[in-house]
Each structure stands twice: as C-alpha cells, then as structure tokens.
Symmetry: C3
Subunit: 308 residues, 3 copies
C-alpha cells in the first residue's frame, strides 16, 4: 500500500500502527536489537530525496536498518539525477520499480508528486513530504505522541500556534484530530498566518469546535496539548508589525498550563520555544521526534507484512 496522506488511515489502522510502534520500541537490549535485524533481512528500502531533509531521511533509514533492511539512498536527486536531463518522475519510478525495492521513500519539492509516483509504481511509495502537500509520517508521529500521553485521541483540547497558514504539520494534525469525537482546537496566530479556510471547513463538517485568538495565556489554561510551530518570517508581508514575544513560549507562560498537558513542536525550533522550557517535564518535542523512529519502523513493518 502507498502512504500518501495521513487522512488515508482508518482509526482501526492507527490503533494497530501505534500498537506495533509500542512493541518495536521495546527491543532495547543488544540481543533484542540483534534479533530485530533478522526481521526484514533481505528487504531493501530506497530513499529518493529530491530535496534534503536530514531528520526525515535519517530516521527512515535508521528505522529500516534497525529492522534489518538494506538501504540505498540519494539526498539530492533534484540536482543529481536524470531529472536534470528532463526525465519525468514517472520514468524514474518505473526504473526504480525494476530494481525491486520493497519500499521507496520519496521526498519532493512539488506538491502532488507522491501521488503521481504512486500512480505508476508497483513498489509501495511513502510520501516523505511533497512541497506544500502532505507529510503523513509527521502527522502519524504527532498523533502517536498524543496517544502515548493520554491513551486516547478524543476528548482533548489542542492549542495550536505559530504559522498556521503555511505549516503543513498543523494542518494535518488539525484534520486528523477532528476525525475523533469531542476534541476542540484553539488556533493562536496573527491575522496574516491564520489557519486556512479549507481546514476550518473540515472542522465545521466534523463538528469540531474551534476558536481563533491571540491570547495564548487564556488558551493554555485548559490545554491538553500545545502544538507550537516556527513562525516563518520570510513569508510575512510585514514582519516588523508582529508582536513577536506573543509567539514565543517562555517559562512564564507555563504557569498557565495544566500539569498533565504536553508541549509539542515538529522541530526544528528557533526561538519560538525558549531553551529554558526544555527541562519542563511537559516539554515533549524531543521525545516526539523520537516517536518518529518507532512510527516509521511500524509503518515499514506493516507495509512489508501487508497489514497496511
């Protein structure tokens, strides 16, 4: 099965995926880790990255290697490959198909490329980000992080802040959470970076209550999950006009946050979360990144074993 969008997963599939991720993270001793490399020995993964993404690529490749798969990799296919000579993505994929990989992980700068690739591919394609389009494993690891903390994906108040207009992760997670009952979302952003109308339409359709505000402190008071993102200043028409401090999480604001809440961030972060926050037990962003390893292991495993 191709993995193109986070929305393609049923709730039952997510349950199975998260359960498998939990199992796989328990292979921790040297002998268990050795045993794990027998699991998919003889299988191969191809990393086909048309734009660099060290974190995503390394975690996919680490996941594959931990499961015993072989990996071949290119991290700058855009510049280096036949693409420069005018080859279509369809032709590239048809050739890779012939090399009999078990999975192709594709990152591309152009929205929709993963679907184009999947259309002609016999080999399962995992979309590792296509332009402003989808990045499903990021959404999965976000959901998995929430699930691990609360044991559920419903009945939660999610507060999202930062660049809501352009942030792929925020958009995906909002959609996913609205597919579960009794969640509500508070969006915190300047007018220029508010969440898109398409997402709001989805939330309304799913009866997920949401609010847009610039008052972070108030929103934090009842938050279960704070999901913060980088303000991409280069995309603002008038960066100077933005009250910057409002969008940076400093230790003081944590006084408003319940003890059971978690603070998430897709990383990299720059200064929108102070390093002083890192030692707070609610700061979950590094563990969240680590959950990406186990979600990707589970995903590779379930694709190979035809569970997905």
């Amino acid at each position: 099965m191709h993995i193109l969008a986070a929305t393609q997963f049923t709730h039952a599939q997510l349950d199975l995926l998260f359960a498998r991720a939990e199992e796989l993270r328990n292979y921790t001793t040297p002998s268990q880790r050795k045993e794990l490399t027998e699991l998919h020995k003889g299988r191969q993964l191809c990393s086909l990255f048309y734009e660099p993404s060290t974190r995503t690529r390394l975690s996919f490749e680490a996941a594959a290697i931990k499961l015993g798969m072989g990996v071949v990799s290119t991290e700058n296919a855009r510049e280096f490959s036949s693409a420069a000579k005018g080859e279509t993505i369809e032709d590239t994929i048809r050739v890779l198909d012939e090399y009999k990989f078990d999975i192709i992980v594709l990152r591309h700068h152009k929205t929709g490329t993963a679907a184009q690739a999947a259309h002609v591919s016999q080999t399962p394609i995992i979309n590792a980000g296509d332009g402003k389009g989808e990045h499903p494993t990021q959404a999965l690891l976000d959901a998995y992080t929430i699930y691990r903390q609360f044991g559920r994906l419903d009945n939660l108040h999610i507060v999202m802040g930062g660049d809501l207009a352009n942030g792929r992760t925020v958009r995906s997670l909002a959609q996913l959470m609205s597919s579960y009952p009794n969640n509500r979302i508070t969006f915190i952003s300047v007018p220029e970076l508010q969440i898109g109308e398409d997402i709001k339409a989805t939330l309304r359709k799913n009866n997920t209550p949401f609010k847009e505000t610039m008052d972070a402190s108030a929103a934090f008071k009842t938050a279960d999950v704070v999901y913060w993102t980088r303000l991409q200043k280069e995309r603002l028409t008038n960066p100077a006009a933005i009250p910057e401090a409002r969008f940076n999480i400093e230790p003081e604001i944590l006084n408003h946050l319940p003890v059971h809440a978690i603070i998430m961030h897709p990383l990299p972060r720059v200064d929108e979360i102070s390093p002083l926050v890192d030692s707070d037990p609610r700061a979950m962003y590094f563990e969240q990144a680590g959950n990406g390893l186990y979600i990707r292991m589970a995903l590779l495993d379930q694709i190979i074993t035809n569970i997905l």
Copy 2:
C-alpha cells in the same frame, strides 16, 4: 579482475555472466532474498562517484546489498573529496586499497581515469563511466537484454538512432554486436550526429554490414532490435535545422516494426520516444534498465568468486 571496457569480455565470459544473472533474478520470494544476503556477507563495496549518476549508483548499491555486501558511498567526490585539494586519483585509490573493500565502483568525469585507477589498485575496479570513455555495465545490460529476448547475440538486424556521434552506449553496443557473426546495423541520424569513423572501421574489420540512412520507417521493417537514444540538442551546431519529428518514435511508426522486435533505450528519455509507446509489448526500455540490476549482481558475484 578490473572491469574497464565491455570489449574485454570473451563470448564465453558473457555466456557465463548472463547465465548467472538469470540465476540471481530467480531469488524472488522473501526467504530466497534473505538467503541471498548470506552469499557475500562480510564483503564490502565502495561507490566512488566523482559525478552524480543516481541510476547507476543506486543499481550497483542495490545489487551489492541484495547479495549481502556492505556499502559505503560518496556521490560527489569531485567537489567533496581530497581531489579538491589536488590529490591524484592514484593516491585516492591507494588509500581506498588500504580500507580493504572487495570492489570499488568508480565514476569519473575524465576519460581514462578508470584505467589509471586500475593501474595502481589491488582492489578490483569497476568502471561505472569515465567521461566520454567507457561504461561497460551499460553495454553488458544492453547485450543481456537482447540475449534474453532472442536467446542469441548473432544473426540480428540492429537499428540505432539518435545521437550516434556522442552516445557512449550506441558506440559500445555497435562494437560488441559486431564481434558476433551475421549481425547487421542500420544507423539513423542527421549528418551532424553520425556514428564515428572509428566504429565504422571496426565494423568493416569484423565484416559487419552497416548502412547510414535517415529513413527510419524503412529500416524498422526488418529490425530485430531498435536502439534509440536521446538527441543531445546542446551539442548541435544548428538545432533548428533538424527535422525533429523524424527522430522521435511515435506509435505510428510501430506499424512498420515486426512483432518480434524490441525497442530499447538507455534512459533517461525525454521526448524521443513517446510515452504512448510505453504500453506496446515491444517497448523494452524499463525492463532493460531492470536487467542492469541483475547484470551488476552477476558481475559483483563473479568478481568476488574469481570467475571473472
């Protein structure tokens, strides 16, 4: 043994190589593929690419990994390596020799570099393309593709078109086919891109009849193999003067082609073969690329086992 040029192989060696490629392609089930990774476990391949070539590199590395070899890889040695500091290829190879790889796959932008490297190397070198020089595994996979289709490499009519002057693959294949009896070749190209006099001299010496023409339809009527290549317009002195359609294979011209014939192309293709041709059973170019995997597996295997 170093693999520097397609012409170094005897017909008996090609027979053995093709037979091994056939065997290796039959490891298809998960347990067979797992078994295959035991074959050359403990062996290592080094990919040393001074210019990028995603397809060639990925297929060599996939071949190695499928046989259980470990792989270390650099895809931009020209820019990144000690070469930038003035190190000679001989010194680079002498160092790699000390790292005790079993095979070094070398791609270089300068003609003759593979031979230079082989001259000082204790480790078998495979030339994966050196400038306008040789690219032996491409010639091998081309010959293997013809062999698989016809069960022989003699008594065939090969029609070659495109950039015959600069196309390394066309030149190598013409030479190789002329070493077998009773082949004949038709070259289709504009005057500016005709096959070189050196190749014609080889064909005459080997008594291989050949013809140069611009009438593709007539040539196709008796073709067994159509080998088409990309017209590299940047190399033409007057691109506008060329009747372009004549060099693009469109579905219509296939009416002239025997049902038993095959259409080959080293890829990437741009528009010299219409995508509408892809679904024709005679279109063999993707399978041809795939044959590269098995030829490279067979080659690595026979180098390691000293058959080559």
Copy 3:
C-alpha cells in the same frame, strides 16, 4: 564515552586500543570477515558531517560495516540540514539521541562543536574533526603507525615538517609524543609556519627537547620518524618568498635517512612528497592511512563494549 581529543587517552588505554586494532586486522579470510559482521550486528552508527571529508567518513563507515553495524550517513549537513533553518547543534543532537544510535561520528567546521554536542548527548560522540580544533582519530592512527613500526612510543626522534602552524595533525601528534619519555622533536618550517607557542610550552612542561630549523638534511640523519605535511600556500602572506624545494621530499634526501626510519604524511599530499619516494620501503603514508581503518574499528568496538 565521548571521543573528543587525543589527549584524553591514558597510555594504558592506548595500549589496549592498539592491541585491539591488531586483533581486528587479522580477520582477513572471507569466513573471518563474515564472522566479524556478527560482532556488533544490531548496532548503528550515524555519520553526521557538516563538511565533507570523504576519507574520514568512508573509513569510519567501512569500519562500522566490517563490524556488522548499520550506518546512516549525511555528508553535507551544513547545507542540507535543519542547521540552515537555524537549529542549534544541541537540538540536532537531542533529536539524534532519540533515534538510538550507538555512536555518532561528528565532523563540523566550527572549533568546539564536538564538545558542545557531547555536553547534551546520551549517545557517544566521536569528534571527526571540528574546525581548527581536534581530530583525535587522526592522532591515534599516527601514534598507532609509529607503535607498529617501533613497538614503542618513547625514545624516538620525530622530525616534523610543512605547515606546523596550522596543521592540526602535527600539533596533536607533537603533544601526544611529548607525553612519552625520552622523545625529541625537530620542527622544520619557514618562520611564517612555525609550530605554535602553546605546543612549545607543552613540550617544555613535559621536558621534551625540541629544535626549530630549516635544515632538513641534517635533521633526517638521526630521525626515526619523518612526519611531513602539506604546505597550505593559501595561508602564507608571501608564498613567493618561500624556498619551495626545501619543503618537498625528493628521493635524494632519503640518502640522509636511516634505514629503520619511516616517512609519514596525513594525506592528501600534493607535491611535498615526490611520487618517486612512494616505492621506498620507508614510505609509510598509505599504510598509515590504512591503519586508520583498524584504529576506528577498535575504537567503535571498545566504545560499544564499554572498554572505553
């Protein structure tokens, strides 16, 4: 344990490391090499290179693979990674920590980065060079090469030439050798490229006699080790003023060198050692590079087994 500087090793640790390197180099037959890949199967190494260094990266990765470790690799993290978006090295390392590698090999353009990384890392960091700072495995392989030749690291006369001011390797080796008794060092360089006052202070403190001279022939007469380096002309204020031939080792000068002596060079070399010297049995620089493989294997092995 993190490996940040050559000076962190006790003499006892060096003895153990060299002994392990000797053992590991004896796995030479196909079945022994296969056996070796069982040793650290299930372990993973991450190559995190912020600037390219083909030789260092390939030898670390070859070392890891030969021990059965899996490897994930990035060779241009500076340009490609989240660093470009403003992520700190600390955050990058915290994320990699979550991916549960057994060792991270870090190369960075900025002095002190390895220590910064180690400060937050749960995963052992090996400094593979940080700017003008340290490159401990180079110093280890240099010392190991001397040790293999003489069976000791004391009572030696070491002659060092080339760019002593900027050469990281020369500085490290001088420090290391001065920690052993009864060594003496002769530095050969133009005034502009003399060894730093900090190194001289260390030698004085350790009672290691040293001399600065421009007379190479005289120094060679009693040399046990000649350690030569590349004159980095781009760093000279007046390159034209330097009597260049004086700093190139040509066959003639070898007449002055004892038969038991060895000639070392960290490589790459340009013209400071003539290729005519290569066939002299005292020319040890390629074997020296090869020793880097075994030192790195021993280092990985002893980190994983908690000997280091």
